[in-house]
Amino acid sequence: MKLLRSFPVMAFALVLLSIAGFSAAQRSVEMFLVAGTLAAVSWYVTEGPRGRTLPRWASTMLVLLVTAAGVADFAVHPRDIPGVLGRFSLALTVVKLFDRRTARDHAHLMGLSLLLMLVGCMSSYDLLFGVFVAAYSLLGLYVLLLFQLFAAHERVTERRRRRLPAVAGTRRPPQLAPTIGRHVGLHFRGLAFVIAVVGLVSSTLLFVIFPRSLGRDLGRGARGGVTAAGFADRIDLDVGTRITDSRRVAFEMIVGDGWRGGPLYLRGAVLDDYRDGRWRATVTPAEPLGTDGRSIRWLARGILDPPETVRIELRFRTPTSTLFSPYVPVGVFTSQPRSFRFDPARQTLATDRDDPPVWTYAVIAQPEPPAPLVTALSGGRRRPARPFHTFDRPDEAARVVELAETLLTEVGHPRPVGQPPSPEWGMRAAEIFAAYLQTGGFTYTLDVSGVVRTAQDPVTEFLFNSRRGHCEYFASAHALLCRAVGVDARVVTGYIVPDATPGASSLVLESAAHAWVEVPIDDVRVATFDPTPPDALDSAEDPTGGLTARLTFLVQRLEGVWMNRVVQFDERSQTQLLERLTAGSATRMKTGVEAARRWMAQVNRAFYFGPAGYIWLGLVGLAGLIAVIALVRAIRRYRALRRTLGLRTIEPGEPGRLRQLGFYHDLLVALRRGGCTKPPWQPPLAFIGTLAAGHPETAEAARAAVELYYRGRYAGRGLTRAEVAEGRRLVAAVERGLRSGS
């Protein structure tokens, strides 16, 4: 009963946990405070000294109100279906908490809490939410098991009450008391633990082996909401998402001694085409290059170990087809021969389409390249003076131009009239715009899901309305402000290492993925501008010193494990895991076979068996195997005989009797196989009596065998050898009779 009484408290704790989990998924402390407080109040109101609940009509009205609010919420946020569903479920849960608490109401509440967590799963990848999911799973399992007992008790009590005849003066049955054995709490918790372990193992197995490629061809419209941080070779600002900080290690980097310090921008993709809120790279012909796996492959003719270069070695955790490099790469080295494509216009590197991606490579770069070097890299081509696209709508373009010119005028650097802007003027303008974005009241955030999408361009939305966004928004706004005043800026995506230390190895996380801007210095070279507020850039190195720093590092590592092992577990991870397992088992098997072979060789040598020794060993092994099988069979038969004869303890003389009476066990087995199972409660002779109706001849033989069994079991003397043989003969006769159906 103590177990049953604990159910309401546990169920309430589960609901509270789901509310906290959903609030964590939505990253809303306000939501947790409001809903959590209301839930706590509901407990006092319904289970407190007064114990009052909402009348049905009031709860129905509130449910209708909540439904109406949910519809209105959906009208406002039509693209945020999980959020709308979650908020609706949360409100419904709070209303239900003030309602009556029958088993059905508890079931409703548990269902709503499950829905909250499912919606949370669709809208968050955070570690904190993962912790809530784990806690909810364990508590939910316990509460669900408890609910089965609670609901059954309530149902049976109600059924017993309803069965009472309505006739006056009827004697009433006693109250229902649950029938329980000893140690019910211990057994219940033990069983819950076993179920949790089995469930965890099997769900993990299903999670690992479930094919992730199934959804590849399905509609991607429903996707979105949350993405994990990481490199992308394109930018789509029109999808309002929330980016979760990925603590997954992208690669390990060793910077050569030539590095002078400062932030290291590793360029991956150069995006120069902006349309409809999306940045793309213009397709240009790339030159094929090849490495021989022994020496550095210089990227332009005539370049041979230029001065003031820096060597950077990158070891990726998952192979990559984009080769990241600081500006400007001049040479590449790989340990195996590979084929590359080098884009001379943008100075970017990628593996050839037909070639596999690379795990490790080294790149030689010159951070401050002279113009002839860049000219050589670009094949002597100068940057064409081409028109660049900014906004589709003229009014938006005009607003951005007006803003850009206002900013320039404010600092006394107006746009030259009647002539194209010089590179020096463009550099200065880019500085002014970067300073404006860093200090002009813009907020850096990874969560832009709350930004209301309108028909406006996402960059103008960012500049004039929301003023919130991540590095892609800052870089895009910067590039478009530059373009508004005629400066050909472009967005670059890659990785940033804010404090790369020369000669040291550091781990670069996926969360170090970044976007910045390049502005032309002259006809061939570019300068890097990073308009993102510097506070937003994380360190990629291990924190040192101080308990807080160590704790932070621990949490980050945990987040890394969470992101690597759970959130970003994909088809590629499945393949890697399978390869590792296959390789591991193959190695173990090979080692085992080798060890067995060595052992056999040692035995062979020790006993001087000679070449035929292996045959002798094989025969001994076979005999041992047969002996083990026989032993197992004997033990099983011994146990079955004890069970059949009902002998809990065996006296010194009993084993012989067990062997003698084995025919009775064989008789029961034969009858069971023939479809005549003896009920355990029926005495043997009575059972044979019932058997006689269907199988008269067989029953005769069985009766004789049973009488022989009685003699051996209860007459106080053992059976003679002849009697035992007679018993076996009778059992054989019973088998024959059952086969023939007599």
């Binding site: 006739v167 049955p173 029938t179 993990t204 299903l206």
Partner: protein, 392 residues
């Protein structure tokens, strides 16, 4: 032992929900949803396996009461043993299994349900189910079903064990109005007095030799001390008033035609109830009661007074098979000679010729005057359908 799974609505809903989560996981590519899907699928697996293993280790035995009474709760107990060494069993529902379309115990009794919350490994527990008998007679139970949907309530599984067993349902006993019994209790040459016969009373009758079987407590020690042999005190036998209840069932229902047969059958049932009520009231008042059933081939029960004798009469009334061929009612000379009060119960019109002149004759049409029940309540007692309706 027969085993089977029960796919009910929660199972279908759960399967639908699992498929939905799988689709959402595939479409959304959310690994947390993949994990939730894995957990839901494994819950299905665990549910099926655990409930099956749990039930396989059980053995069930039914413990029936000696008898039940129509309209009163009848407690049937089930002794359930968990033979498993490690696994406890939870949330078991034990009930009588009724094969669809078969008419058996369901005609006489409304099924009860025993609930066992927990049985530990290698433990034996007793669970109680309350049955409500609706008609008198022999109740033959056959199969016992043990069912569970633990641990998650998704998938139900049951085992059916054959355990043939029967019991008797006595007719209902109604409170007889006091003046009825006062009227039929004989007051002349019979009554509460001490007869000159040895017996099991309290008053002194005499001294005799101790015989094998006599209780040591009855030894007269003072007298024994004066003689060489053991003597014991003999008590008188009490002789309370006697009453013979005669139930006249000599007229078969078919004789009145098919239309009236049902009415006649109801009246006969009422007559049995009235007879049982008279027997009960007389027994409670300290009378010795006997029973004769006229028209059926049953031996008359002589008047006695004890708990067992009362149950014997009730069992005789419960076992009356109204489908038996009827015999003409004959007056037994032995019964005629008894110094005893006689109450004759007739289903229809009273036939005064079946008993001696001083006998009291009752008919079922007077019944609501004789017992504290209205006619509607009486109707529910003899019609199980009406009883079920009244219960609901």
């Amino acid at each position: 032992m027969r085993r089977r799974y029960h796919l009910h609505l929660p199972f279908l809903v759960y399967c639908g929900l699992t498929v939905l989560v799988a689709v959402a996981a595939i479409n959304g590519g959310s690994n947390l949803l993949f994990w939730v899907f894995g957990a839901m699928a494994s819950a299905l697996l665990v549910s099926g396996l655990l409930s099956g293993v749990m039930l396989l280790g059980l053995s069930v035995r039914r413990l029936l009461p000696a008898h039940g009474v129509v309209g009163e709760p009848m407690s049937v107990r089930y002794a359930i043993r968990n033979r498993s060494r490690l696994l406890p069993a939870f949330n078991l529902h034990c009930r009588e299994h009724a094969s669809p379309g078969e008419s058996g115990w369901q005609d006489r009794i409304r099924g009860g349900l025993a609930w066992i919350m927990h049985i530990g490994p290698r433990e034996l527990v007793h669970a109680e189910a309350i049955f409500w008998p609706t008609a008198r007679g022999v109740v033959d139970f056959d199969d016992v079903e043990v069912r569970t949907s633990f641990p998650f309530g998704i998938l139900g599984k049951s085992i059916v064990v054959t355990r043939p067993h029967g019991t008797l349902v006595f007719p209902p006993v109604l409170p007889l109005r006091q003046r009825v019994l006062d009227a039929i209790v004989p007051a002349a040459d019979v009554g509460m007095k001490i007869t000159q016969h040895p017996g099991a009373g309290d008053d002194y009758y005499g001294i005799r030799e101790l015989r094998p079987g006599d209780s040591l407590r009855h030894i007269a020690w003072k007298r024994t001390a004066n003689r060489d042999q053991l003597l014991c005190v003999e008590r008188t036998r009490p002789n309370p008033p006697k009453l013979r209840v005669m139930l006249n069932l000599s007229r078969a229902p078919a004789e009145d035609g098919d239309a009236a047969a049902a009415t006649r059958r109801r009246r006969e049932e009422l007559a049995i109830i009235l007879a049982a009520s008279i027997v009960e009231a007389a027994d409670a008042s300290g009378l010795e009661v006997g029973l004769s059933v006229l028209g059926l081939a049953t031996a008359p029960i002589p008047p006695r007074r004890s708990h067992w004798h009362r149950n014997k009469i009730m069992a005789a009334l419960a076992e009356i098979d109204l489908d038996q061929p009827r015999l003409p009612a004959l007056r037994s000379p032995a019964v005629e000679m008894e110094r005893i009060g006689v109450a004759v119960v007739h289903p229809g019109r009273a036939d005064l010729a079946v008993a001696r002149e001083d006998a009291w004759h009752f008919t079922t049409t007077q019944m609501h005057h004789l017992v504290d029940r209205t006619e509607a309540e009486l109707a529910t007692l003899v019609t199980p359908a009406a009883a079920a309706e009244a219960a609901s």
